[in-house]
C-alpha cells in the first residue's frame, strides 16, 4: 500500500479526540465490527493509530477512503460545534430574556462569541459586550469580561454546560494579547513566536554583535557575562517570549528581618502587601534583567515560572 496514504490516515486518526473515535470510525464504515472489536481503545493514541492503520492496510485502503475519513472528521467536528453554539445561546436566552449572542467561526476549530447583556426588562447594551474565544478541541476558553460584571457567573455557567464539562476554573492568567495567552496555555511558546517587534529585535542583536566584535573593546567580566547569558538562555530559551503586561504578587506572609526589632518584625499577623510588575512586554523585560546588571542570575523562580505555570497573578502565603 502507498506509504503516503498510510501516513495520511494515521495523522487524521491522531487528530480525532478519543471521545469521538468510535463515532467517526463507525460513520466511516470502512473497518468491520469484528475488526473494531479487536482493537484496544484504551491504548495510547499513537499506538492505537498504528493498529488502526494496519487494519486499514489489510482491507486495502485507497486514497479515496482516506479522503472520506477526513470529510467525516470535519463533519462531526462541525456538528459538535453547532451543538455547542445552540446550547450556549439557549442557556443565556432562557436566563435573560434580553441578550444578543453572535458567533463567528475561525480556523483551528475555534469560535468567537460576542454577548451583549440586557435584563428581563431592558434591551441589551450593545456598547458593553463580553467576548469569548472558545477552542472546541481543548478545555480552554479565553474571555474578555464586559464591564457589566454581574453577568460573569452566568457566562461561565453557560460555557460549562454547553461545552459538556463539569466545572469552569478561572486561571490566574491575564493579558491583552490573545496570541500570547494561547501560546502559554497551549504550551506553544517555546517555538519561534511571531511578534510585532521581531524586526527591531533583529536590529538590536546585530548592533550588539558589531560592538562585541571590535577587538579594541575588552570585557573584563567575560566569564561572569557568559555565565549570566547561559543561565538566562537555560531559563528563558532562545525564542521570543509571549507578551504579558503584568505580574501581580499578593503577599500574605510574616515579615522576616535579619535585624532584631523593628516595627514590622514583631507582628503575629501576616503582612499584606501587593507587588505589581508592569511592562509593555513583561517577560522580555525579565529576560533582560540579569544581562542588564539589574538582577542576579538566576532570577527568582517566582518570576521565571510564569509561562510554565500559566499564571501571572499569584497569592503567596507562608507555608
Amino acid at each position: 500500500m502507498d506509504e503516503t496514504v498510510a501516513e495520511f490516515i494515521k495523522r487524521t486518526i491522531l487528530k480525532i479526540p478519543m471521545t469521538k473515535m468510535m463515532t467517526v470510525l463507525k460513520a466511516w464504515d470502512f473497518l468491520s465490527e469484528n475488526q473494531l472489536q479487536t482493537v484496544n481503545f484504551r491504548k495510547r493514541k499513537e499506538s492505537l493509530a498504528q493498529d488502526l492503520v494496519l487494519l486499514c492496510e489489510e482491507n486495502g485502503v485507497s486514497l479515496n477512503d482516506a479522503a472520506l475519513l477526513d470529510i467525516i472528521c470535519e463533519d462531526i467536528d462541525l456538528s459538535d460545534m453547532e451543538q455547542f453554539k445552540s446550547s450556549f445561546k439557549k442557556i443565556l436566552q432562557r436566563a435573560l430574556k434580553n441578550v444578543t449572542v453572535t458567533f463567528r467561526d475561525t480556523e483551528e476549530n475555534a469560535v468567537w462569541i460576542r454577548i451583549a447583556w440586557g435584563t428581563q426588562y431592558r434591551k441589551p447594551n450593545q456598547y458593553k459586550p463580553a467576548y469569548v474565544m472558545y477552542y472546541s478541541q481543548t478545555p480552554y476558553a479565553f474571555i474578555s469580561f464586559s464591564q457589566l460584571r454581574s453577568n460573569t457567573p452566568l457566562l461561565c455557567q453557560a460555557l460549562t454546560i454547553a461545552s459538556k464539562h463539569h466545572q469552569i476554573v478561572k486561571m490566574d492568567l491575564r493579558s491583552r494579547y490573545l496570541d500570547s495567552l494561547k501560546a502559554i496555555v497551549f504550551k506553544q511558546y517555546n517555538q519561534n513566536f511571531e511578534t510585532h517587534n521581531s524586526a527591531t529585535h533583529l536590529q538590536e542583536r546585530r548592533l550588539g554583535l558589531d560592538i562585541n566584535m571590535d577587538s579594541r573593546i575588552i570585557h573584563e567580566n567575560r566569564i561572569e557575562k557568559d555565565r549570566v547569558h547561559r543561565v538566562t538562555q537555560e531559563i528563558f530559551g532562545d525564542y521570543s517570549q509571549p507578551r504579558l503586561e503584568f505580574a501581580q504578587y499578593k503577599l500574605e506572609t510574616k515579615f522576616k528581618s535579619d535585624l532584631n526589632g523593628g516595627i514590622l518584625a514583631e507582628r503575629e499577623e501576616p503582612l499584606r502587601c501587593l507587588v505589581k510588575f508592569s511592562s509593555p512586554h513583561l517577560l522580555e523585560a525579565l529576560k533582560s534583567l540579569a544581562s542588564a546588571g539589574i538582577a542576579d542570575a538566576p532570577l527568582s523562580p517566582l518570576l521565571t515560572c510564569i509561562p510554565s505555570k500559566g499564571m501571572n497573578y499569584f497569592k503567596i502565603k507562608d507555608k
Binding site: 579594541r216 573593546i217 570585557h219 573584563e220 567580566n221 561572569e224
Partner: protein, 146 residues
C-alpha cells in the same frame, strides 16, 4: 569612542565593578570612567565600593565620573547632589550625559577621547594634572574646597 578620529591606539575595557580579575595581562590604564546610572541606587553603591580598589595615583586627573539618566527626572532615585558630592570627595570631574541620546553620546565620547589622550601623555605640554586643575577652576563656586 572608538569611532572618533584619534592618532593614538585606543582600547576600552568594560567592567561591571572593581577590582578587575587579576590573572590577566593588561596594558597600562590611562583613564577610569565610573558610570553611575541615576535611576539605580545599586549603580551608585557599586561605584562607591569599586572606588576603594583604585590606586591613589589615579585620582590625580585619571578618574572621571559619568552620570547618566538625569534627563528622566521621575526615574531618578539618586539625587544630583549625591554624585556631585562623590565627585568632589574624590577630587575628580563629573559629567552628566544621557547615554541613551545619540547626540549627547557622541559629544561625550569626543570629550572622553580628548581627555584620554591627555591622560596618556599623548598631548605635548598638557598633563592629566594640568587638565584637572583647569577643569576644577570652572567648577561650581558654591562647592567649598575642604
Amino acid at each position: 569612542m572608538l569611532k572618533e578620529d584619534c592618532a593614538s591606539t585606543l582600547k576600552v575595557h568594560l567592567a561591571q565593578s572593581l577590582p578587575l580579575p587579576s590573572n590577566v595581562n593588561r596594558p597600562r590604564i590611562d583613564l577610569i570612567v565610573f558610570v553611575v546610572n541615576l535611576h539605580s541606587k545599586y549603580s551608585l553603591q557599586n561605584v562607591e565600593e569599586s572606588l576603594h580598589h583604585v590606586d591613589a595615583t589615579f585620582f590625580l586627573g585619571k578618574v572621571g565620573f559619568l552620570a547618566t539618566g538625569a534627563g528622566q527626572d521621575n526615574h531618578c532615585s539618586i539625587h544630583r547632589n549625591t554624585v556631585l558630592r562623590l565627585a568632589h570627595t574624590y577630587r575628580s570631574p563629573l559629567f552628566f550625559c544621557d547615554l541613551e541620546v545619540e547626540g549627547f553620546r557622541a559629544t561625550m565620547a569626543q570629550r572622553l577621547v580628548r581627555m584620554l589622550q591627555i591622560c596618556a601623555g599623548h598631548v605635548p605640554g598638557v598633563s592629566a594634572l594640568n587638565l584637572l586643575s583647569l577643569m576644577r577652576s570652572s567648577e561650581n563656586p558654591f562647592l567649598e574646597d575642604v
